[in-house]
């Protein structure tokens, strides 16, 4: 005589719940990471604007705009804003990295800088923006994996 298992489904739901919790924690960590890197880049640009860059024609104003936009995005992403805020942060970070590269090569709106000057702000800012791009790319790819292809 064989007995019918009555409690066979109790284990899988527990695994599913813990997996979902882990995913949520992971997404929260990525979101906080994006917010932090955006804010770091914004604060550095604000610092540079206040400490001399305000006097550079065109680029000085660009530093002010970058600082205020990145800080705003950082706050809103941390507050749990929609996905497009993170994507905007990623796109703008790519733009900031391109602007950095231009300023070290052919110049950008009549402004060039040399190497990793001003140190350490330039290196920190580039690292923060690169990390933003990586984290945003990660969220986009994760989202595509979760969305079934029809």
């Amino acid at each position: 005589m064989t007995s019918t298992p009555t409690n066979i489904t109790s284990s899988p739901p527990t695994t599913a719940v813990s997996s979902t919790a882990a995913n949520r924690a992971g997404r929260l960590a990525v979101r906080i990471g994006i917010a932090a890197t955006l804010a770091i880049s914004g604060v550095i640009h604000a610092y540079l604007y206040i400490h001399g860059y305000q006097y550079i024609p065109t680029s000085g104003t660009a530093f002010l705009v970058q600082a205020s936009v990145f800080c705003a995005l950082g706050v809103l992403v941390a507050a749990g804003g929609p996905a497009w805020l993170r994507w905007a942060g990623g796109v703008l970070s790519v733009a900031a990295l391109i602007a950095f590269a231009l300023s070290r090569t052919v110049g950008l709106s009549g402004f060039t800088e040399h190497g990793w000057n001003p140190a350490p702000q330039a290196a920190i800012s580039v690292a923060a923006e690169a990390l933003t791009v990586v984290l945003v790319a990660f969220t986009v790819l994760s989202r595509r994996r979760r969305t079934p292809i029809t």
Partner: protein, 313 residues
């Protein structure tokens, strides 16, 4: 009655939520910009109230004697520049003209520009020569007009309000690419001139050609500037102001910042726009936007000079 839901898109509620986030982004951006501007402005205002240690104006490339469609009255625009300096609201400690005072180094042109400069309301006027000021005589007529108290071929230095100022001549000989050249004598002068200074002395350097390689293909640089700058790298604040390129450009290299100035005569193309830097004729009414003057302030203890560019009004 409409349900308010588009099956292909978002609900009205979702649209409102996204709009709210977008609005919050705009508001936060504007507010953040205001706060940063206010902080930057407060620092500047506090410094202004304390009266800047040094305030001067820079004008450049007046090209008195130029005739062409790019500017049919260089004397007119130069007069406007002088009037604008006089209308700054304060008396500058000095005014620096960073070269190409004349267009062809004619005696009459030197006489005219010297006469016009007397209209500046300032205690001191300093100049450095441009290549147009030494067309056929190695700068002899320039030095007769403006070389009093200078050394060598017209270079000099002085101290004012705790700031060390150096005026260089890099337009008397050129590299194969047409870049400016300082020469051994002047490099020796710079080395000895700054040797006794402490490293926290702010240094300002005037020259006509840029002391950085802005666009070597057009000779927009100084071939032996690296040597000169090596004597200046130990200073915490070095600001190099030049003319020649007729447009604003800024470059930073550690503690050394280069600022090219615009002109009071006519614009030149941006680097690489066209085969050569020929005067650009702008559409009617646009010329004044390309011309201007520069106001420079220095506050004791600050690492950077405060520059304010003004278009010719």
């Amino acid at each position: 009655m409409s349900s308010g839901r588009d099956p292909q898109g978002m609900t009205r509620r979702q649209l409102m939520v996204h709009s709210a986030w977008f609005g919050a982004a705009v508001v936060l951006t504007v507010a953040g910009g205001e706060v940063i501007s206010h902080v930057a402005g407060s620092a500047g205002a506090a410094q202004t109230q304390a009266r800047p240690t040094l305030r001067f104006a820079q004008i450049s490339d007046s090209h008195i004697g130029f005739t062409g469609t790019a500017n049919t009255s260089v004397t007119g625009t130069f007069t406007e520049a002088i009037n604008q300096v006089n209308g700054l609201g304060f008396t500058p400690d000095f005014v620096i003209h960073t070269g190409d005072l004349t267009h062809l180094s004619k005696p009459a042109q030197f006489d005219q520009v010297k006469q016009m400069l007397t209209g500046l309301n300032t205690a001191h006027i300093f100049t450095v020569p441009g290549e147009h000021d030494s067309v056929d005589d190695g700068g002899q007529k320039y030095r007769q007009a403006f070389g009093a108290g200078t050394r060598g071929d017209g270079w000099y230095s002085f101290d004012i309000a705790g700031v060390h100022v150096i005026g260089l001549v890099n337009t008397l000989s050129f590299s194969k690419m047409g870049a400016g050249h300082l020469g051994t004598d002047q490099l020796d002068f710079i080395e000895k001139d700054v040797a006794p200074l402490s490293s926290d002395t702010p240094v300002i350097v005037f020259s006509h050609f840029p002391l950085f390689a802005m666009y070597p293909a057009w000779g927009w640089g100084t071939d032996d500037a690296t040597q000169a700058l090596s004597y200046l790298r130990r200073f915490s604040s070095v600001t190099c102001l030049n003319g020649h390129v007729h447009q604003l450009f800024t470059k930073t290299e550690g503690n050394i910042t280069f600022h090219t100035a615009t002109t009071t005569a006519y614009p030149l193309p941006h680097p690489g726009d066209g085969p050569a830097p020929k005067p650009v004729t702008l559409p009617a009414g646009k010329l004044h936007d390309a011309l201007g003057i520069r106001e420079v302030s220095y506050i004791k203890g600050q690492q950077t000079l405060a520059l304010k560019e003004q278009k010719l009004s």
